[in-house]
């Protein structure tokens, strides 16, 4: 049903049931909010999104108030602006204002609002919440003194990621976000997915910054400097330079990395093609032997951490096939070192948890997020939008659509199925819609020849426990389960570009970036790993089909990270 409303003197039609915030947004009217995150965190607590509604004594929060027929709303009256200003001034009075030293400087929502509303940041100066920076975690840095208690991180961590590593603790002015017993984050149930960092409006949650490490590698003359880039980075990196969400910028990204000083820029997509082959074989073997089923993917490091922390009994079910990143890293090392050359590898990942993976595995020298790559390009003074396209370097630059779609939920499964179906039946099936994005857990049964495989695809860790419990209780049986910790998969990874969720919903972001990946996949000549000539060449020419060597390079010998 539709209702007629007036916003700032103009008539609009809105859906009944929508909030004022939604109706305004749909009509291009901007209302600021700090705590609202659709369906995840709607506490109406920051009081920044207030608007005036005719007939109501007090201002109302637009995020929670539903539109009614004939509603007359003012989003920018003096009364509204004054109230918003006071809310922001109060928040900033209890905020660490060392902005110049903050990694969110110029990207901070609170800072932006302060500027927009001409706030006097000292008006309510008073006692601030005491805190120390917690950088105990491998990927996430917490600084409570910058927290404005919007609660989005807590909500995302519990509701979307099922980790509940952090919670609101204490009461009143002493309220803050903390772990159980206010211990360092590394002693909590945090898996480092970085979803909290994506939603934090200020610098209270940031990822560990490895830029200086990368710069020191780039400063070395005596090593070969390699950058390798994950599939999902190419659909987000352009956002760092103000471009549209989901812009496919592979070519410019490669150019930028070259200009940054990397000798070689390789594609993790190719690593993914290797993962497809190895993991498909592993699956076939395990299904044949009916051993340790279901086989869980292990390429998502946050998921790997999650299993170790919460379901150690399933560690043996995690695939021994290396993640595309580790796969390629091992190959690159082997390739150069077998030629007697020294190499240092920097991987560019849409992910914060990869920082732990590379530490634990010890092959790759640094891992930076999409955001850090953006910072590096800016630091180097490179004009990203003016760059010409370049191609990835040989011999690790050739990939198929199968490798590319690792960046989205369902991608690993689809890639493996494309390969396995072909291997077992000789038929090439390029698009397998069944396994692509859907809310919650997706279950699919596929028939390959005479085999029936029961698969599940999970994204968003909060969806995992039910499946795990069902398996434990014997209620469900699966052969293969793909898990990506972040909702939507790596396209929405904790290391991707920041998005202003007050302007666009996260589902929309996932959709746009995934669409860019699928479009590129669709445009590719080869969509099946089997068609990757480069991969074949490496198996034959570089590895000489030496099974022992292949196993050593492509599989984890133990499933423990530490």
């Amino acid at each position: 049903m539709e209702v007629n409303i007036i916003i700032d003197g103009k008539k609009y039609v809105a859906n009944s049931g929508d909030t004022i915030l939604k109706a305004a947004k749909d009509n291009g009217i901007e209302i600021p909010t700090l705590c609202f995150l659709k369906d995840v965190n709607e506490p109406a607590s920051c009081r920044v999104c207030v608007v005036e509604v005719e007939g109501m004594r007090n201002l109302v929060t637009s995020c929670s108030t539903k539109v009614r027929e004939g509603m007359n709303i003012k989003t920018n009256s003096s009364k509204v602006l004054e109230a918003r200003k006071t809310a922001i001034e109060l928040l900033v009075s209890n905020h660490n204002k060392n902005c110049l030293n903050c990694s969110k400087n110029l990207k901070c929502s609170l800072q932006k609002l302060c500027e927009q509303y001409h706030c006097d940041t000292e008006k309510f100066a008073g006692e601030c919440i005491a805190s120390e920076v917690d950088d105990s975690n491998f990927a996430i840095v917490r600084d409570v003194s910058k927290c404005i208690l919007c609660g989005k991180c807590v909500a995302v961590c519990a509701k979307k990621q099922g980790c509940a590593a952090i919670s609101k603790i204490n009461r009143g002015f002493e309220t803050k976000i903390g772990t159980a017993f206010d211990k360092p984050l590394n002693e909590s149930s945090c898996v480092g997915c970085g979803q909290c960092v994506l939603v934090c409006p200020t610098g209270a949650l940031t990822q560990k910054n490895d830029l200086s490490r990368v710069l020191s590698i780039l400063g070395k003359d005596d090593v070969i400097k390699v950058a390798q880039v994950a599939p999902a980075v190419r659909v987000s990196i352009a956002e760092e330079f103000g471009e549209e969400i989901g812009t496919f910028a592979e070519g410019r990204m490669v150019s930028a990395l070259k200009e940054c000083g990397f000798d070689y820029v390789f594609d993790v997509n190719m690593g993914a093609d290797f993962t497809v082959i190895e993991e498909a074989n592993e699956l076939i073997e395990k299904v044949t032997k009916n051993e340790n089923l279901p086989l869980f993917t292990s390429c998502c490091p946050a998921w790997f951490n999650y299993v170790q922390k919460n379901y150690p009994e399933f560690e043996k079910n995690l695939s021994s096939t290396k993640s595309p990143n580790e796969m390629l890293g091992s190959l690159v090392k082997y390739y150069f070192e077998s030629q007697g050359k020294k190499v240092e590898i920097v991987s560019v990942m849409p992910c914060t948890a990869k920082k732990r993976e590379i530490l634990a595995r010890g092959t790759i020298d640094a891992s930076m997020t999409t955001r850090e790559l953006g910072e590096l390009i800016k630091l180097k003074g490179i004009n990203f939008s003016k760059l010409e396209d370049s191609k990835f370097d040989d011999p690790f630059g050739e990939y198929t659509g199968a490798g590319l779609i690792f960046g989205v939920t369902g991608g690993v499964t689809e890639a493996a199925l494309r390969y396995a179906v072909y291997k077992l039946t000789g038929k090439k099936q390029d698009i397998i819609e069944d396994v692509r994005y859907s809310d919650g857990v997706k279950e699919v049964t596929v028939s390959i020849g005479d085999k029936k495989l029961k698969l599940a695809i999970i994204h968003g860790l909060a969806n995992a426990p039910q499946v795990m419990e069902d398996i434990k209780a014997g209620k469900k049986h699966y052969d293969f389960i793909e898990v990506m910790a972040c909702p939507g998969g790596c396209v929405n990874g904790g290391g991707q570009s920041f998005v202003d969720y007050s302007k666009i919903d996260v589902e929309e972001v996932i959709k746009k970036r995934s669409a860019a990946i699928y479009k590129a996949d669709g445009d590719m000549k080869f969509k099946n790993t089997d068609d990757n000539a480069g991969v074949k060449k490496i198996y034959e020419d570089l590895l000489h089909n030496d099974h022992e060597l292949i196993h050593k390079l492509f599989h984890y010998t133990d499933t423990k990270f530490n």
Partner: protein, 161 residues
């Protein structure tokens, strides 16, 4: 099981385990479980929170959030006798420090530490608001004023069971 030994006496632990059994999986009964846990141990031990989290299926951080929200819950053991000494200006000038030293020496603890028998905890405060009675202490809320160092033995011994 070794966890349980640290938790409390055998009796307390078995009572606690029975409590967990009773409320297993009942997330919304967390308040009553915490109240009863505190009833059993006199406080909410850190280890108990882990076990409650597992039994009731609530995240530890969430339980900690609840504990720190409600002022009734305490995470530190309470002694049988809680002695609070005023170190406000008036008390300090009249020799509160000497009295404090005497008390600590007698009980063999530091401020904020519990005696081995679990009977005493000595804390200090900014001002009890009874400067006229300086120097003053409270024991379980009852005020003892105009103290001299010599009085300390008598007062503390008076609580011997």
């Amino acid at each position: 099981m070794c966890n349980c030994i640290r938790l409390g006496t055998e009796e307390q632990v078995s009572e606690f385990n029975a409590l967990l059994d009773e409320y297993k999986g009942q997330k919304d009964n967390i308040m009553i479980v915490l109240q009863k846990t505190q009833g059993i141990f006199g406080y909410i031990p850190e280890m108990s929170v882990k076990m409650i989290a597992e039994a009731l299926k609530i995240a530890e951080s969430e339980i900690y959030g609840i504990i720190t929200f409600y002022s009734q819950f305490t995470l530190t053991p309470k002694a049988k006798y809680n002695l609070d000494i005023c170190l406000g200006t008036a008390c300090f000038v009249l020799g509160a420090q000497d009295i404090l030293d005497k008390i600590l020496a007698k009980l063999g603890v530091k401020v904020g530490e519990m005696t081995k028998d679990g009977k005493w905890i000595v804390t200090s405060c900014r001002c009890l608001g009874c400067c006229g009675l300086a120097p003053a202490i409270t024991i379980n809320g009852e005020v003892y004023g105009k103290l001299k160092v010599e009085d300390v033995d008598k007062i503390i011994d008076g609580f011997a069971d």
